[in-house]
């Protein structure tokens, strides 16, 4: 019996193994899918309670020529043993300790949960002493490759255009009217003001009308910082920084294998200090891409940010390593929850771009706008992508929607000439309201 947690570990390990095999393939080793399958099965059989065994099992299954051993060793070291392995080892180990304690308290249930990490993936029946458990988790930890990014030499060029584009985008995409209203020529009758103005003049001369204001949108940025996006990280950090600081109520996330909210590292800081803060705190740069599970995390943990006023901006090249079904499913769910989904794909800047990456294809049906990173720097590109997105005409958000012809939110009643006196303004008003209903 394997608990859900265990299954998740196993799935993650599988993904990591597949990713590792792909890396080897990139390093010109002949690793076919059949070898990848063997590797996954072998680790399942041999377990990974011992790093050496884990290493040997992988090599036995994947490398079929002794000439390739060197390449394998290099890739193995950089993939499974890089980064801040030790710190995370401690983290996992403490988790293991916690579950051991639980076992002492409640005998059976906890005992199922304990051993999960080893048993689920290794399938071996050995219970494992404290020492092996720690080792097991220690080897498991580097599965999530942790890496930081330095932003030395980050210039402030492009920042103004990024800001402009973000502002224009959020305004363009704001289409939902909120509850607050503002005087306007058309729209529904503003009873309060109509009465007040009639009172002041002693007769009902004009009918004041109002319109609901288009409320601002909340921008949620989901930025891919996996290895394939490395070439764009300077631009990305500018976009993230501007989103966090210049767009009110925005939320900023980065993801690769995990999702993490980084708004707090960006807000109220200069671009440079924000960048160094991010590089100090975010450890998942240049890892694999799992858009599906990032969306899942977003839906599970941050659903309060998602609503009819939310525009979700996803910046990713769509090279999904996770399950495509999950991605399709989560994209559909996200699209249902938010107002608009904008996908910015750096690859789309190159001419002849077609959304061919598997992740991109899976997400495509649920994307409203797809553009390249150039939309942030080239107004023409911005227009091309968002040109059709025409927001509501006169009412733009509070404050900006006042009618430029002064008080012309009011409308003169056809029969009401100045000086004439209407005995029963209430009746006139009622008839006006009926007329409104008919139209």
């Amino acid at each position: 019996m394997i608990s859900q947690e265990g299954r998740r570990y196993a799935e993650r390990l599988e993904t990591k193994l597949v990713e590792f095999c792909r890396l080897l393939r990139d390093a010109k080793l002949s690793v076919t899918p059949s070898e990848t399958i063997d590797a996954v099965r072998a680790v399942g059989q041999a377990g990974f309670s011992d790093e050496q065994v884990f290493h040997d099992a992988l090599r036995i299954c994947v490398v079929k020529r002794s000439e390739d051993f060197e390449t394998f060793e290099k890739e193995f070291r950089s993939y499974w043993q890089s980064g801040r392995k030790r710190a995370i080892t401690a983290d996992w180990a403490s988790k293991g300790r916690r579950s051991r304690r639980r076992r002492a308290d409640e005998s059976r249930r906890a005992s199922l949960e304990k051993g999960v990490a080893t048993r689920a993936v290794s399938g071996s029946s050995s219970g494992g002493t404290n020492e092996t458990r720690r080792a097991a988790l220690g080897v498991f930890s580097p599965l999530e490759r942790t890496q930081r990014k330095s932003f030395d030499g980050l210039g402030t060029k492009e920042v103004p255009s990024v800001r402009r584009a973000l502002k224009r985008m959020t305004r363009r995409l704001a289409t939902n009217r909120g509850r607050r209203s503002i005087a306007s020529r058309g729209g529904r009758i503003d009873l309060g003001r109509t009465f007040r103005s009639a009172l002041g003049r002693g007769e009902l001369l004009t009918v004041e009308r109002e319109n609901r204001i288009v409320s601002r949108i909340r921008l949620v940025v989901l930025c891919d910082i996996s290895g394939s996006m490395d070439g764009h990280s300077d631009r990305l950090v500018k976009i993230l920084h501007q989103s966090a600081n210049r767009i009110p109520a925005s939320k900023v996330f980065v993801f690769s294998t995990r999702l993490s909210e980084i708004g707090d590292h960006l807000k109220g800081r200069s671009l440079r200090s924000a960048a160094s803060e991010v590089s100090r705190n975010v450890e998942i740069w240049s890892s694999g891409t799992r858009i599906g599970s990032a969306l899942e995390r977003l839906l599970d943990g941050y659903s309060r940010y998602l609503g009819s006023h939310t525009v979700l901006l996803i910046i990713s090249d769509g090279w999904e390593l996770g399950e495509l079904d999950l991605l399709t499913d989560r994209m559909r769910e996200v699209r249902r929850r938010v107002s608009k989904v904008v996908w910015v794909n750096p690859l789309a800047d190159s001419p002849g771009f077609e959304p061919a990456a598997a992740g991109m294809k899976a997400a495509l049906p649920n994307i409203d706008f797809l553009g390249g990173l150039d939309i942030f720097t080239r107004p023409r590109e911005f227009e091309r992508v968002f040109g059709k997105a025409i927001g509501p005409g006169p009412a733009w958000g509070a404050g900006r929607t006042t009618n430029r012809q002064g008080r012309s939110g009011a409308q003169l009643l056809p029969s009401a000439k100045p000086g004439s006196f209407d005995l029963n303004p209430t009746i006139r008003l009622a008839s006006l309201l009926c007329e409104q209903d008919d139209s």
């Binding site: 070898e35 050496q52 065994v53 099992a57 090599r59 002794s66 050995s126």
Partner: protein
């Protein structure tokens, strides 16, 4: 896996943990294990030990150039068939003679078919030894066999293995093997054991040898293997032979005389022998004793 390691060690096979992992995976995943390495580093021995551990019948197919389906899968026993026909003719009962002479009785089972048909309590271990000596056509034949573990005899029908035999393939790398074969196998590369491991092997396999002598032998062997001027490098078998020889001669220590006398245990070609006797021995002796 720990149990397997213990069992292997108990049979006197001293090896790296990687070897145990490879054997374990080959057994659990049901995949053939391709073992490559220098000659004499214990590849065939490993197969023997594994068959012993699993109490599996060891079916060995020694490869050589020109190996074909006849000598690897099956062959009709023509002599017997002829004899049978003659006998039946004499008795004038030639009605069902055709079906009879193409029965299993007249089939000479070669290793691959034997592996398929093996009836023992455990699946047999099929050792395809030194596959690099066979030609590529045989490799192609093997691919098909390793995929399905079945053999078709047109006159009788198809035999399919009830239990997958354990398959181990060894190669000395005299010829590059095809990718197809490699892909179907797990891969283990054996090197010469480290000095400590070799010492352990010597002590186990040649009981009664003195500690000092064993140490000296292993040391000399290691140096010889590092030297590229030898045509045929000595393997573990040579180490053991040499140790046994020195023990038989009652030597407790390596000296010039015993070295000269027993050089034939170590060098297996005329060039090497000349090279050894032409001064290298003395150098080695000097280094070892210092």
């Amino acid at each position: 896996m720990e149990r397997l390691a213990q069992l292997i060690e108990k049979r006197g096979y001293v090896g790296d943990p990687e070897i145990v992992t490879a054997v374990y995976l080959s057994l659990t995943l049901g995949k053939p294990l391709l073992v490559e390495g220098e000659p004499g580093c214990g590849k065939t021995e490993l197969a023997k030990v594994v068959s012993d551990v699993r109490s599996a019948e060891l079916i060995r197919l020694q490869c050589y150039e020109g190996l074909d389906a006849r000598s690897t899968i099956y062959e009709w026993d023509y002599l017997k068939q002829l004899l049978k026909i003659r006998m039946e003719e004499a008795r004038a009962q030639s009605n069902e003679i055709e079906t009879e002479v193409f029965g299993e009785r007249f089939l000479l089972k070669r290793p691959l078919l034997r592996a398929v048909l093996a009836k023992g309590p455990n699946p047999p271990l099929l050792l395809i030894d030194e596959i690099d000596r066979a030609d590529e056509e045989f490799e192609g034949l093997l691919l098909e066999f390793l995929g399905e573990f079945q053999v078709t005899v047109p006159e009788i029908g198809t035999f399919k293995a009830e239990r997958r035999p354990i398959v181990m393939i060894t190669s000395n790398r005299t010829r590059e093997l095809g990718d197809g074969l490699r892909r179907r196998c797990l891969y283990l590369y054996l090197t010469y054991p480290s000095a400590e491991k070799e010492l352990e092997i010597v002590k186990r396999k040649v009981p009664g040898i003195g500690d000092k002598l064993a140490r000296q032998i292993v040391e000399v062997m290691e140096k010889l293997r590092k030297d590229d001027s030898m045509v045929k490098k000595p393997g573990i078998q040579e180490t053991l032979d040499w140790s046994a020889a020195l023990l038989a001669l009652g030597r407790k220590d390596l000296d010039r005389v015993s070295l000269m006398e027993t050089a034939g245990c170590v060098a297996k070609s005329a060039e090497d022998l000349m090279w050894l006797r032409g001064g290298v021995w003395d150098e080695l002796l000097l280094e070892t004793n210092s």
